[in-house]
Structures are given as C-alpha cells and as structure tokens.
C-alpha cells in the first residue's frame, strides 16, 4: 500500500511547487535586498568611479576629462593637508582607544562583568555623534566649560581645545575615544572569554608572572578579536565627520579639515565639483583597502593561535 502511495503522489499545484522550490524561494527572499544593493550600493560605487573622470557641476552635462581631476587633486595643497590631518586624527584616536579598551576589558575580566557595568560602558556609544559632540563643546567651552574651570583650579590653566588649532584635532580624537572605548572594551572582553583559563594556570605553575602571561597568552590569543576591532575602528576613524561638523566645522583655520570634510566642501560649499569630490572618494577608498590589507596581513587575521593548544 505504502509503496503504491509513494509511486503515485498527487500532482502538486503550482503554488505548492513554488512553496517547495528552494530556487524560487531563495530569489524571492533576496529580491528586495538585491534591488536595494544594486540601486544604492553597487551602481553608486561604480558611478563614483566614472564621475571622477568627468567635469560635472550637476547643472550641465558631465564631460569626460580623463585623469585631470586626479592631477588637480594631487596638486592641491589642501588635499594633502586634509590627508595629513586625517592621519593625525587616526593616530591619536586608535592607539589610545585600543590600549584603554584592552585595559578596561582586563579589569572587567578580573573584577566584574555585571550587566550593569557593561551597560554603563556602552552608553556613550549609543548616543548620536552629534549629541556627543554637543556635550563636549559645552564641557570644553573656553570660559564656562567645567573641564576648563577644573583645569584652572588645579593650576594647569585653561586650554583652547576645539578653538586652538594645535589642540583641535586631538580634542576631536579625545571625544571619540570617550564614545568608543567602552564599546571596544566589550568586544575585547568577549574575546578574553574565549581564552581557556587552564592556560593561565599552566603558566602560573611554570612561574610566569602577570606581565609574561599577558604578553605570551592574552595578546596572541586575542588576535582575531583585535583584528576585527582594529579593522573596523580604523575604517571608521578615517571617515570622521559628524563630530567635526558640530564641534569645529573644519576649523579653526582648517585645523580639522579631514578628508571627508574636504570632499563635503567640494560638493556642498564651494563651486560644485563632482569630479574632484569623487576622485577624492576613490583615493580614500584605495587608502582604506590598502590599510585593511596591511592590517590583516600584518596581524595574520585568518589564523588563530588557539588551534595550537587544542
């Protein structure tokens, strides 16, 4: 009986067949996202490249000019200065933020990983960049800012912070370190949890002190998480904009004109120059790709030292 049933199943209707077709369902499920991807990600990315070879002010038709935009860009002192400022920002931001985050993660690992503490640490990261910038514009205000009042009271004296060309970019970096260190610490803390405690016990038996344990066990085994953290934070760091838009607007005297501020100015503030703006975008993209490749190579992202122990 059963064999007969299997041999002659009822002819399924079209709907039933579609409901059972992985190919049909697969394409049906990815269709909306594919439209979004093609229209707002793939096509714009490619057209950015094309626009960078044209002279275009949005009002008249784009005109092919070859590499002229790139020549103009590389001859523009402001562009080189923007690159230099961006790099300065990244070098202030990333090392301090990462070291602090590792420290916080180690403390959490040793003392407490209560949800309350983790919640507190993540709080600044949840705030919009604009809000965080606003907050610090107030805290660091030259005359009324409580931090400056404090600095004066302890004898260090008032600082210009956002208003001082020599301190502005470091101040912006400080604000973003404040916003991101807890978030980064939580990522690193999750990485710490994957390290087997038995390794530390074995090391202790062998007489290794805390520092040696940290250098020989913790850091090497944290590498996969550190790579993830560094790659994402560095990419984000190169694209700093919101904080600057609120706190300094690129000033004082162009001291915080980073690469994104430079690009923004080409499109929305100066004579509209789409070609030059997109050329700078392409250069930024190439820089990010290069930095990412160097980081993953240098830190051997795909290998885990944990495999050697298990």
């Amino acid at each position: 009986m059963a064999a007969v049933k299997i041999a002659s199943p009822p002819e399924p209707g079209l709907f039933a067949r579609l409901a059972n077709s992985q190919t049909f369902l697969g394409y049906a499920f990815i269709l909306p996202s594919l439209i979004g991807f093609v229209v707002f990600f793939a096509v714009p990315a490619v057209s950015s490249l094309f626009i960078s070879f044209t002279e275009w002010n949005l009002l008249t038709d784009a005109e092919y000019v070859g590499l002229q935009n790139y020549e103009t860009l590389f001859a523009d002192d402001r562009f080189w200065r923007a690159l230099q400022i961006t790099l300065t920002y990244v070098l202030w931001n990333i090392p301090i933020q990462t070291v602090l985050a590792i420290g916080i993660a180690l403390i959490m690992d040793k003392l407490s990983n209560s949800p309350l503490l983790r919640g507190l640490l993540i709080l600044p990261w949840l705030m919009p960049n604009v809000v965080v910038a606003m907050l610090f514009v107030w805290l660091l205000d030259p005359t009324l800012g409580i931090i400056n009042i404090f600095l004066q009271n302890i004898g260090i004296g008032r600082q210009g912070f956002f208003g001082d060309p020599n301190q502005a970019i470091a101040s912006v970096a400080g604000v973003n370190i404040w916003r991101h260190m807890g978030y980064t610490a939580i990522l690193i803390f999750a990485g710490l949890k994957t390290i087997p405690k038995s390794l530390y016990e074995a090391a202790r038996v062998d007489g290794a002190n805390g520092l040696v344990q940290f250098l020989r066990i913790t850091l090497p085994l944290l590498r996969p998480v550190l790579v993830f953290v560094l790659v994402t934070t560095v990419i984000g760091s190169f694209q700093i904009f919101d904080t600057i838009a609120v706190a300094t607007e690129g000033g004082p005297a162009g001291a915080t004109r980073t690469i994104i501020v430079y690009i923004y100015e080409q499109v929305f503030e100066r004579r509209i120059n789409m070609g030059l703006a997109t050329a700078a975008c392409v250069v930024l993209f190439l820089i990010l790709i290069t930095v990412t490749i160097i980081q993953t190579r240098f830190l051997r992202a795909n290998q885990s030292d944990l495999a050697e122990y298990s």
Partner: protein
C-alpha cells in the same frame, strides 16, 4: 602539633593572599569607579545645565547642582512656551529657533521606524536565503554583498544624492530612508551569522516529514528567529536614529528635519557671543531620551549582540 602548625601556615598564607588581592583589587575598583565617573559625568552635566535658569549658567558656571532649578528650558525647547513671550524678557541670549522639536522628534521616529522595519525585514529574508536555501549563484551574490561592506559611506553618498535629486526626493522622508530601507550589507551579514548559528536539526526533520521549504521557514525558522530579529531591529533603530550626514544632505527642510540635524542647526542659530547653553542642553537631553529608553528595555540584548558580532 604538625597538623596545627600546618593549619597556621595555611591561614597565614591565606590571609596574606587575601590582603594582597584586596590591595590589587582595591586599586582596580578605584579604576572602575573613575571609569564610571568619566562615563556618567558628561551626562549629569548636561542634565544639570538643562535644568538651570538660563542666565545662571553664566553666573554660576561651576555649581554642582542646577542653579534655580527649572523646567523652563524643556518647555521652551518643546514649544510649550510661546516664543513671543520670551522676547520681552531680559534674557537676550535665548535661542528662538527652538519651536519645532515635536516635529523633529516625530520625523526622527518616522525615519528610524521605517528604516528599522524595512531593513530588518528585507535583510533578514535575504540572510535566511543565504544561510539556509540552495539556489544558483547564491554564494556569488553573497560575496558581492560582502564587498559592499568595504565601501566608505561618502563614496555612496554623492551618487545617491544625485539619484535622490533626480527623483525629486530632496526634502522628503522617502529621500532620507530610501538608501537603507531595503538593506545594508552589514545587516544581511550580521543576520546570516545568526541564522548559521541556529540549530538545523528541527528544520531538517520537518523537511523529511514532507513540509514545504516555505512551511519550514514560516512555522519553524521564523519563531526561532524572534530574538535575532529583535536584536537587529534595536541596533538598526539606534543606527538610524543617530545618523547625521545623510539626513543633513537630503532632509534640511524643517518639515522633514530629524533630531540630529535639528540639534546642529539649533546650535548654529544660537547667538555666537553668548550661546543659549541651557536651551541647547535641554534639546540634547530630549534627543537622548528615546535611545535611553530603548536601551533600558533592550540593553542586555544590545550588549550581547555586540559581543556576538565581535567573532565574525
């Protein structure tokens, strides 16, 4: 005797260790306390300033508590006080560009809400397909999405701005939400990781029992995904709520202005010499409140998902 001295030695060692740990830990706890202070103080200072009488912000800049505590600034920012009545007062530094906060708040909710629903739904559908269904070119398409992760936002903003402009969508809600309402590569990637980590046994058993592929999705996978969907939703909402540059480029008109943009416009409108700090900080507090509420309800989920994302 032997056992007694052993005990003594052990106790001494133990107390020595206890003391040692206490000193080290005390130092670390001080560090934690400092960290919490650094994290919370700016928030406190904003609230303190927002509650101060506007002129006292200048006269009593370092008072720890708000001077002449008042809700006046919040009323002002939320438009509960007629701006005309402010002009008569001697406080010349009060910003008048404060009136439409309810509109901005509504816009932020509409924009973040639409993006959250659309992006979470469509990205999750795609992620499910990539994680569980077999169809031609699946891996190639997914790889394309992954390359999208690498592209800096500004590279996309300029052509997208041109497209939105050609569509006539500058200054509209659809212009603000369009680029991210269908997907972001990150959302698809993140959700796919979630789905890959779900146990497959139930789904396979159901398939063997003759359930259709759609039936498996609808009756088995979907209920299991409620947690990940909620997590993605919360993260998307916070991201959309915090977005600044794109809504600033496309939605500067007051009718569609979102809170982040409004806050910066508000700042640039306050008098240069003597900014309206009390009003500004009240606006800041108002724009933080929804995120804080969301975080109080879903905080643990957000933290866990951040940790989860660190491994992929």
């Amino acid at each position: 005797m032997a056992s007694l001295s052993q005990t003594k030695v052990r106790t001494a060692a133990a107390s020595e260790e206890a003391q040692h740990i206490n000193w080290g830990n005390l130092l670390l706890w001080i560090g934690v306390g400092f960290l919490i202070f650094i994290t919370l103080f700016p928030f406190y200072w904003v609230v303190r300033t927002a509650l101060s009488e506007p002129n006292s912000v200048y006269a009593y800049a370092s008072d720890f508590l708000p001077h002449d505590a008042t809700t006046f600034n919040f009323e002002r920012v939320l438009g509960m006080i007629d701006p005309a009545s402010l002009v008569g007062q001697q406080a010349t530094n009060l910003s008048a560009g404060t009136i439409n906060f309810w509109v901005y708040l509504r816009n932020s909710f509409v924009v973040a809400g639409l993006i959250t629903i659309g992006q979470t739904l469509f990205s999750s559908m795609a992620a499910y397909a990539f994680a569980r269904l077999k169809f031609p070119f699946r891996d190639q398409i997914f790889f394309l999405y992954l390359t999208g992760l690498m592209i800096p936002g500004i590279v996309l903003f300029i052509p997208n701005f041109v497209l939105i402009r050609q569509l006539g969508w500058i200054g509209t809600i659809q212009g603000i939400v369009a680029p991210t309402i269908l997907m972001t590569p990150f959302a698809v990637f993140f959700m796919r990781q979630f789905f890959l980590s779900l146990n497959k046994d139930l789904e396979e058993a159901a398939l063997l029992d003759g359930t259709t592929a759609f039936g498996v999705f609808w009756r088995i996978s979907l209920p299991l995904m409620r947690g990940p969907l909620l997590t993605m939703g919360v993260l998307t909402f916070i991201g959309a709520w915090n977005e600044y540059l794109w809504p600033f480029l496309v939605g500067r008109d007051e009718s569609v202005r979102v809170l982040t943009v409004a806050l910066n416009v508000f700042k640039s409108q306050t008098p240069q010499g003597a900014p309206d700090w009390a009003g500004l900080m009240a606006g800041t507090v108002v724009s933080i409140v929804p995120t804080i509420l969301l975080f109080l309800f879903f905080g643990r989920r957000v933290v866990d998902s951040i940790q989860f994302s660190g491994f992929k």
